[in-house]
Symmetry: C2
Subunit: 180 residues, 2 copies
């Protein structure tokens, strides 16, 4: 995992891993007969450290929040914390996702989990397909990454994202008048 963090997944060689682990290359190969199995194994630990968001977090995160705005507020705070934990690895995984199928799987799962949680947050507002796409776009890790690089405190960052999500909801709704 350290090496994958330092130099990326696909560029790390089995020999690199063996050396860092202080064992022979053959030993690494025995435990992980191919890159896929190694990535899967790392994935377990990565997921633990990163704690991806899923609809299962819904009750914990949204407990007692009656309004959509209140839930969005909580959602943003969770997303911020999540990316604080995992943005680095999410981006690294993204770089290699079409070289390593297991990384693609993982990222799809993370994405699906996030989408589910967002749905829970705005469940009152009958989220349509376009709205969800827009919200997912705003909650993307690259957006967070750029916000994070800005000269902003965590609270400012969250406030801005909150504003953007709210704005997105209004914007999409205004363009899709309810069917008569």
């Amino acid at each position: 995992m350290a090496l994958h963090d330092e130099q990326g997944v696909a560029t790390t060689t089995f020999a690199d891993i063996a050396e860092r682990a202080g064992v022979g290359p053959a030993t690494v190969l025995r435990h992980f007969p191919n890159l896929g199995s190694l990535v899967m194994a790392c994935g377990q630990h990565v997921a633990e450290e990163m704690r991806p968001l899923t609809p299962a977090d819904s009750t914990r995160v949204f407990a007692g929040q009656a309004t959509t705005a209140a839930r969005l507020e909580r959602l943003v705070s969770e997303i911020d914390a999540f990316y604080e934990r995992g943005s680095f690895r999410l981006i690294a995984a993204g770089n290699d996702r079409d070289r390593v199928p297991e990384l693609d799987e993982f990222l799809k799962m993370v994405d699906a989990g996030l989408e589910g949680l967002i749905r829970e947050a705005i469940v009152d507002d009958a989220p349509g397909d376009p709205l969800m796409s827009v919200l997912m776009a705003l909650c993307n890790v690259t957006v967070w990454q750029r916000l994070n690089r800005a000269n902003l405190t965590a609270l400012e960052r969250q406030a801005i994202l909150m504003d953007l999500l709210t704005c997105a909801m209004a914007s999409v709704r205004s363009r899709k008048p309810p069917m008569p």
Copy 2:
């Protein structure tokens, strides 16, 4: 360029290129002694097809637009067209940017150009560092990509992005009261 589009830059081998070109591997190597020079050469053509935005486009794009809102409107339309032309390759390049220095260079240039044009659009509003970061985040190609995948027309897409940029400006400004 076709092969880079089909299977990515770093995964394409010189032999692949030679075969596709109907020549021997050595011939490709003579013209492009290393991957970097090949990428640079492709970059010329890619840039032509993609026409990255730069502050130089300012006069053409913003001609006669007196208000910030009007300029933003034009900006969004340009960005949308730009990504329509180039999002595919921008993303592919992004995947290999830390394997191929030349791709990194290229993307930095594109980014700088876009940032410059955005600055021109909001020049009236004394753009601060944080605001620019937020706007750049929203104008990121991955955001566009997700909006594009949504069930939206180009005009809807642009309208939403326009709303988001406007909202971002208000949001950042409200959080950074002018110094007394």
